[in-house]
């Protein structure tokens, strides 16, 4: 079976002003359907860069980033956009649209995928119920706690039945108790609904809860552990 995500000798170099920064220096990685992978590493190790490439938000400098067998370097902007609709993003800072309620935030993602209004409403409600926010779906982000906001973000990420969830420090901005709840939710989605999940974190304790952990240092994967 084709891996959902496959990185082959992946390199990414940024220009920081005039200084080139090698964020990734030849990463090889495979994620199969149903996996729950944690990418662990200190800041500056290149884990967010890797995540951006997996999510087709950026293109590699060298090497191949294959999503479902397609090299993203060969795709144009529109094709990349289509690809992004099949990826569920969850960000450290939630990135909800502040003027929209929880439900509207989830609906936005569905409207981007051209779903009809009535279907959108039902789907958003059921998704928010899945993440345990049935009672608070008409609240705006400012009226929700950090954990609740992240649940909304997860519901939004799941909206268009993505091939995998891509989470950048999903618990980085919430207290540890809530972080555990969020992680339990992700684990549940992975185990019960078969959602493939890739999570970047610098929290060793959280990383061990995943099925597989890779450790990154200075733009390279230095260790792979199956938990």
């Amino acid at each position: 079976m084709t891996p959902i995500v496959e990185a082959v000798n992946l390199k990414k170099t940024y220009m920081l002003g005039k200084v080139p920064v090698e964020a990734l220096r030849g990463v090889n990685l495979k994620v199969e359907s149903g996996d729950f992978l944690a990418i662990l590493g200190p800041s500056g190790s290149g884990k967010s860069t890797l995540l951006n490439l997996i999510g087709a938000l950026d293109k590699p400098t060298e090497g191949k980033m294959m999503i479902e067998g397609v090299d993203i370097s060969t795709l144009n902007d529109n094709q990349l956009t289509d690809l992004r609709r099949r990826v569920g993003f969850v960000f450290q800072f939630f990135n909800l649209i502040p003027r929209f309620s929880a439900k509207e935030n989830v609906e936005l993602s569905l409207s981007i995928a051209d779903m009809s209004r009535s279907d959108r409403k039902k789907r958003a409600e059921s998704l928010l119920e899945t993440v345990g926010l049935k009672e608070r779906m008409n609240h705006k982000p400012a009226e929700l706690s950090g954990g609740e906001q992240q649940r909304v973000a997860i519901a939004r990420a799941l909206a268009n039945n993505p091939r995998f969830l891509l989470m950048d420090e999903p618990t980085g901005n919430i207290d540890s108790k809530t972080a555990n709840e969020i992680l339990r939710l992700i684990k549940g989605l992975n185990e019960e609904k078969g959602v493939t999940a890739i999570m970047v974190t610098h929290d060793q304790r959280l990383a061990t809860q995943s099925k597989k952990t890779v450790l990154m240092l200075d733009g390279l994967i230095v260790q792979e552990t199956v938990n």
Binding site: D58, R85, I97
Partner: protein, 431 residues
Amino acid sequence: MKARDILSYSFSAIRLRKLRAGLTTLGVVIGIAAIVALLSISQGLQATITSQLERGFATDTLIVTAGSGSFGMGGGFGGGGDSGFKLLVSDTQIINNLPNVDTSVAIVEKLVNVTIGSTNRISTVVGVNFTEYYNIYSDTFKADTGTIPLNPENDSIAVVGRRVIDPRLNGTVIADVNDPIDIIWINATARPPTTITLHRNITAILKQIGSFGVGGPSDSNVYIPITQAQTLFNTNESDMIIVKLKSSDQTVIDNATKAIKDAFSGEVSVISATAILGIISSIFSIIELFLGGIAAISLIVAGVGIMNIMIVSLMERTREIGILKALGTKGRTVLLIFLCEAVIIGLMGGTIGVALGWVLANIVAVVFRGGGVFMGNQANAGTGGMTITPILTPPVFLGAVAFGVGVSVVFALYPAWRASKLRPVDALRYE
């Protein structure tokens, strides 16, 4: 994203920043209101002038004056020609014999002092053949009180316009039919200068015409039989000859014009009412263009404001754009969202602007009319009792709204394009 979703998304973005959107819209409102007010007033003014000219000045008439120049191009109107050629009163006979000519009437006119009771004013005294003049201007050379005698050559009478006896047209009448009127002409070229006074009685007062025209009856003129005018001014020269044609067809006008010019070896100017209306309408189009241009500048300023706001908004919403893109929004959709905001602003500004402009135009019209409110009767005196009814034509209405939208969209293009080109990684990293 579906069109409706784009629209509601744009609306939600505008609603979020009501004050800012309101001020941006205000810029468009002012620009559009200025355009609409200026254009509807100038169109109204044009309509007023045109209709007055049409009344004072039938479309099947030509005006013949001495001088080979043409109206509006230097030669002038009734100003003696370059060669010293003068029209004579008897030239009507030559003109009457030309094809297509129904009749013609010679006019002798001079500025004189007119004394009615204790009031002494300067007025134009016009000598005409009453019968012929009435034939040509049967609508306006019409008595309101009294009767216009048709063969009054030897009677000591005068027909006066309404303003002669009611100078401010406010009902304060200083004389009535049968009252005496003195026409005092000072012959400044005689040596020694002589003063001739004609004692006359008002035999008819014309109904108010309210218009001005060349050759046609006017509210402020005093009319006397042409033979008496010739005697009074001791002249055989005619200031102008008004020619009535058999029809108002353009070919008839053109042929008669040529025939008259030829009959006087090109020493006369022949003006048709249609030509003057044409000149006036072309002058007005220039004025409209000019006024519209000035107003358009304010709209362009508004456009720069829109661009400015859009760029600020783009920066503020960089992260939001990043989110949209990460969720799979196409660059084109982001572009449309921003343009849609501009369209909404332009549409609101345009519509409110048209309404405001229309209100402004009507306020200006009321002020201009005087209406006894702001300037009292002096306004009336100043404008010759003219009223302006602003005109808002559907092309102006739609054009103004479309222009408002157009300006907004044009100035939003660059910010919208920039937004659509933002790379999601950069946009998401933006703080």
